[in-house]
C-alpha cells in the first residue's frame, strides 16, 4: 500500500501587507473609542443641562459620542455580541435591566411621595402646624424676606436652647413659601452684623428684613418663665416688614374697666389678653372716653371691658355715634355694669337680665355659677369646646320684635325691623337645667320655682345691624355697605389673667377677629409652651450624668458575661 501522501491545506489567500496589524490596532483602539463615546455623551448632557444657551454644541458633542460608540461596536462586533448574547452577557444584561427597573420604580415612588405627602404633627399643641392665619400671610408673599437669626450657641446656653426651635419654626414657614430666606449669625463672632441693626434689646433675636423695613423679634417669656419664639410674633414681623397696616383695637378707660397693663398671673387684669390681641397682630391702645370727642377713625374694634362706674351722657353719645358710623364693639358686662351702658346696648338690640346664672349640668367645680355654656355654630365659637364664665349674666333680644332677628341667625338671613336689618346670634348657651338666680345672698344658689327663671340662656351674643337701631322707617331698605357689629359677653371674669385656662382667651380673641373682619385668625389658638424644659436638682443631674452612660452598658456586659459562663 503506497504511503498516503500528506494532504496539504490549500494556502490561504495572501493578506494585503499590513491589513492584519491594522485590524489588531483598531481592535486595541476600540475600548478607547467606547470610553471616549461615553465621555462625550456625559459632556453633552452636562452642556445641555448647565449651559442652556449652548444646546447646539451639546448636540454636536452628542453626535460625536454616538459616532465613537458606533465605531467601537463595529470594530469589536464579535466581542460586543458575545457580551450581549452570551450566557454571562444575557444574565448580566438581565440583572442590569432589573436593577434599572427597580431604581426607576424607587425614584417614581419617592417622587409621588413628595408630590402627595401628608404630615402628622403629633406634638402636644401641634407645635409644628402653622396657624391658618400664618399660612394665608405666607401664601400672599410676593417678594423675599431675609430673616437673620442672631444666636451664640457655643457660648450662651439660652441661645443654644432657643436656636433649634426657632429654626424649626422658620423651616415650617419655608415649607409654605420660598420667599423666606434664613441665615444664622453668631453675634459673638461677628458683632458688627448685629450692630448694623442698632437694636434696643439683647439677642437672641430674629431680624426680618425687606429693602424697605426691618423688624426684630425677641423671645416671648413663656409660662415657665423662659423666653421662646412664637408663631404669632414671627407672622406679625412678616406683616410689619412687608408694610401691611396693622389694625387698631381700643380699650376704653375711666370707668373701672379691667386693666390691660396688669399681666399678673393670678390677677383680675387683662394684661395677658392684651398680649394675645397683640399676638394676633393688632395695635392695642387705650381710649379715655371722657376726654375724647369721638372714637378715633382708625379704630377697628372698640372694647368695653367690665366698666363699673357711671358713664357721662357725652360719653354715651360718643359710643352711640361710633356704633352708628358703623362701628364694631366688644362689650363685656356683669352685675356691676352701669345702667347707661346697658341702656345703650338695649338700644342696639341686646338686653341684659339682672341675676347670676347657675347651671348644675355644666359648671366648674365647686361653684355652679362658674358655668360652662354650650357653643353655637357661629364662627366665633364654632371650634371652642370648653369656655367657662364665672358669674355669668343672661342676654336676650331687647324687644319682642327682635325675636325675628334670632330666627334670622338660624336661617343665615337678616330680619327687617322698622326698615333696619337685624341679626342676633347666641354664641354661648346654658343648658335647660340652668336658672337665673335673682338672690345673690343665697349660697349655694338654689332654684325657686316662680321666683327664678329657668334656662337655657344666651350668655354671649353677636349682633349685626344695618341701619340705625331705632329703624330707618318702614319700607326703607337700607343700602348701607357695612353693618354695625356688636359682641356682648355676659361675664367679665372669663378673660381675666387668672382665668386664662381652657378656651377663655380664645373666645375673646375670636370675637375681636370676627369684629375686625380677620376671620382667618379665628380658631387659631395660641399654642401652649412648646418647649418642656427640664429643671433638675443637683442630685437628679448627677444621677443622670452617671447612670446614663454607665448603668446600662454595665448591665449588658454582665448579661454577656453570664451568657458566656453558661455556655462555657
Amino acid at each position: 500500500m503506497p504511503p498516503e501522501e500528506p494532504t496539504a491545506k490549500p494556502p490561504a489567500p495572501p493578506e494585503p501587507a499590513g491589513a492584519g496589524s491594522l485590524l489588531e490596532f483598531a481592535r486595541g483602539l476600540s475600548p478607547v473609542l467606547a470610553l471616549g463615546g461615553v465621555a462625550a455623551l456625559i459632556v453633552a448632557g452636562v452642556i445641555q443641562l448647565v449651559f442652556a444657551d449652548l444646546s447646539l454644541y451639546a448636540f454636536i458633542v452628542l453626535g460625536i459620542g454616538a459616532a465613537l460608540l458606533l465605531a467601537a461596536t463595529a470594530i469589536s462586533f464579535d466581542a460586543v455580541k458575545e457580551a450581549l448574547v452570551g450566557r454571562r452577557g444575557r444574565y448580566g444584561l438581565n440583572t442590569i435591566i432589573m436593577v434599572s427597573a427597580f431604581l426607576g420604580l424607587a425614584i417614581i415612588a419617592n417622587f409621588l411621595a413628595g408630590q402627595y405627602n401628608r404630615r402628622f404633627d403629633i406634638t402636644t399643641g401641634r407645635q409644628f402646624t402653622l396657624a391658618r392665619g400664618t399660612v394665608t400671610t405666607l401664601a400672599a408673599l410676593k417678594s423675599d424676606i431675609q430673616v437673620t437669626g442672631f444666636f451664640a450657641p457655643d457660648t450662651n446656653a439660652l441661645d443654644a436652647a432657643l436656636k433649634g426651635p426657632a429654626e424649626d419654626l422658620l423651616a415650617a414657614y419655608q415649607r409654605v413659601t420660598p420667599h423666606i430666606k434664613y441665615r444664622s449669625v453668631d453675634y459673638q463672632v461677628r458683632p458688627q452684623e448685629l450692630a448694623r441693626y442698632a437694636l434696643n434689646q439683647s439677642p437672641p433675636v430674629l431680624v426680618f428684613e425687606t429693602p424697605e423695613r426691618v423688624q426684630p423679634v425677641f423671645g416671648r417669656v413663656s409660662e415657665a418663665g423662659l423666653p421662646q419664639f412664637v408663631e404669632q410674633d414671627l407672622t406679625g414681623a412678616i406683616l410689619v416688614a412687608t408694610g401691611a397696616k396693622l389694625k387698631r383695637v381700643y380699650f376704653t378707660t375711666g370707668h373701672g374697666e379691667r386693666d390691660i397693663t396688669d399681666a399678673g398671673d393670678l390677677s383680675p387684669g387683662y394684661g395677658l389678653i392684651r398680649r394675645g390681641v397683640e399676638g394676633d397682630n393688632y395695635q392695642v391702645q387705650t381710649l379715655a372716653l371722657a376726654t375724647a370727642k369721638e372714637v378715633p377713625p382708625d379704630a377697628s374694634v372698640l372694647v368695653i371691658a367690665g366698666p363699673k362706674s357711671p358713664f357721662l351722657p357725652a360719653e354715651i353719645q360718643v359710643l352711640d355715634a361710633y356704633l352708628r358710623r358703623p362701628g364694631r364693639a366688644l362689650v363685656l358686662v356683669d352685675q356691676e355694669t352701669p345702667e347707661e351702658l346697658l341702656a345703650l346696648l338695649k338700644t342696639w338690640s341686646i338686653a341684659v337680665e339682672k341675676g347670676t346664672i347657675a347651671d348644675p349640668s355644666r359648671f366648674v367645680n365647686p361653684n355652679i355659677t362658674d358655668v360652662v355654656p354650650l357653643p353655637s355654630g357661629h364662627p366665633v365659637v364654632a371650634r371652642l369646646d370648653t369656655v367657662f364664665l364665672p358669674r355669668a349674666v343672661a342676654l336676650l333680644p331687647a324687644s319682642e320684635k327682635l325675636a325675628a332677628a334670632l330666627a334670622a341667625c338660624q336661617q343665615g338671613s337678616l330680619a327687617d325691623v322698622n326698615g333696619s336689618l337685624f341679626q342676633l346670634c347666641p354664641l354661648l348657651v346654658t343648658t335647660p337645667n340652668s336658672w337665673l338666680e335673682k338672690d345673690p345672698s343665697q349660697t349655694p344658689p338654689k332654684f325657686e320655682a316662680g321666683k327664678d327663671a329657668r334656662g337655657p340662656f344666651a350668655v354671649a351674643m353677636a349682633g349685626i345691624v344695618f341701619g340705625p337701631p331705632e329703624g330707618a322707617g318702614r319700607g326703607a331698605a337700607t343700602n348701607q355697605d357695612k353693618p354695625t357689629q356688636i359682641v356682648v359677653v355676659g361675664g367679665t371674669d372669663f378673660a381675666a389673667n387668672a382665668n386664662r385656662g381652657l378656651n377663655n382667651p380664645q373666645l375673646f380673641l375670636n370675637a375681636v377677629n370676627w369684629l375686625a373682619e380677620q376671620e382667618h385668625l379665628i380658631d387659631v389658638p395660641q399654642k401652649p409652651g412648646g418647649l418642656r424644659r427640664l429643671i433638675l436638682s443637683p442630685e437628679a443631674a448627677s444621677w443622670i450624668q452617671w447612670s446614663s452612660p454607665l448603668l446600662l452598658p454595665a448591665l449588658v456586659l454582665a448579661l454577656g458575661a453570664l451568657n458566656w459562663w453558661r455556655r462555657r
Binding site: V99, R118, I122, R533, I544, S548, P553, V556, N563
Partner: protein, 244 residues
C-alpha cells in the same frame, strides 16, 4: 415564610451567642448615654430625646456594618454559601431571614435606651409625641441601613471589607446633603435642583422631622424604599453567584 423565620431565628440566636453583640451594644449605650446626659443636664435643657436621636444616627453609621458584616461574608469564607444557595430555600427567603434577624438585634439594642425617656418622665414632663416619632425614625433608619450592610456583606468573603464598604455607603448617605454647601451664591437652576435631590437623598434630612414629632409620609416612603432597594440588590448580588 416558614423558611424565612427559621433562618431568622437561627441567625438571631447566633448573635446572642457571640460576645460581639454585647460589646457592640455596650459601646452603643455608653456613647448614647453620654450624649443624652450631656444634652439634658445643661441649663434650660429641653425635656426630649431629640439630641439622642440626632447622635444615634452617627453611631449607627459604624454599629450597623458591625452587625451585618458577617451575615454573608462569613458564609462565603467558610464555604457554606454554596450549601445555602443550593438548599431548597429561595434567595429571597435567605436574605429576608438574615435581615429580620439583624433587625431584631437592632431593636434589642435600642430597647435599653428606653431608660433615657424614662428618666425624662421621672424628672420632668416631656412631650410623648416626639419621643414616639423619634424612636419610629430610629427604627426606620436603622432598618434601611441594615439592608445596606447586608448588601455590602454579600459582595465579599472578607468581613473587614464588608464593614468598610457598608460604612462607606452609609457615610455617603449620611452626608450627601453636604454638597448643598458647595455651590456659591445664586447657582444655576439646574445646580439648585441637583442640590435639592442630594439633600432629599440624605438620611439625615428624613430624620429631622421625625425627631421633633412630625411624621411625614415622604420620610416613611424614603426609608421603606431604601430598605427595599437594599434587599433587592442583595438578592441580585447572591443571584450573580450562580452565573458569574
Amino acid at each position: 415564610m416558614r423558611n424565612t423565620m427559621l433562618i431568622a431565628g437561627k441567625e438571631f440566636r447566633s448573635y446572642f451567642a457571640s460576645p460581639i453583640f454585647y460589646v457592640v451594644t455596650a459601646v452603643f449605650l455608653v456613647i448614647t448615654g453620654f450624649f443624652f446626659a450631656l444634652s439634658v443636664t445643661r441649663p434650660a435643657a429641653d425635656a426630649s430625646i431629640r439630641d439622642l436621636v440626632s447622635v444615634s444616627q452617627f453611631i449607627l453609621w459604624f454599629i450597623i456594618p458591625a452587625l451585618t458584616m458577617r451575615l454573608f461574608a462569613e458564609e462565603q469564607k467558610l464555604g457554606t454559601m454554596e450549601m445555602l444557595l443550593t438548599a431548597p430555600v429561595r434567595d429571597t427567603e435567605v436574605v429576608l431571614g438574615k435581615y429580620l434577624a439583624s433587625l431584631g438585634v437592632l431593636l434589642a439594642m435600642l430597647l435599653p435606651t428606653a431608660y433615657f425617656p424614662a428618666l425624662l418622665y421621672w424628672f420632668g414632663s416631656p412631650d410623648s409625641g416626639p419621643i414616639l416619632s423619634g424612636y419610629l425614625g430610629l427604627i426606620l433608619m436603622g432598618g434601611a441601613l441594615l439592608t445596606v450592610g447586608l448588601f455590602a456583606s454579600s459582595l465579599t468573603s472578607n468581613q473587614i471589607i464588608a464593614f468598610v464598604v457598608g460604612a462607606g455607603i452609609i457615610l455617603v448617605l449620611l452626608f450627601i446633603d453636604a454638597v448643598g454647601g458647595l455651590p456659591g451664591a445664586n447657582p444655576p437652576v439646574f445646580v439648585q435642583r441637583l442640590v435639592a435631590i442630594f439633600q432629599y437623598a440624605s438620611i439625615r434630612t428624613h430624620l429631622a422631622d421625625l425627631s421633633r414629632g412630625v411624621i411625614d409620609t415622604r420620610d416613611i416612603v424614603y426609608y421603606v424604599v431604601l430598605a427595599a432597594a437594599g434587599l433587592f440588590l442583595t438578592v441580585r448580588s447572591l443571584e450573580t453567584r450562580r452565573w458569574r
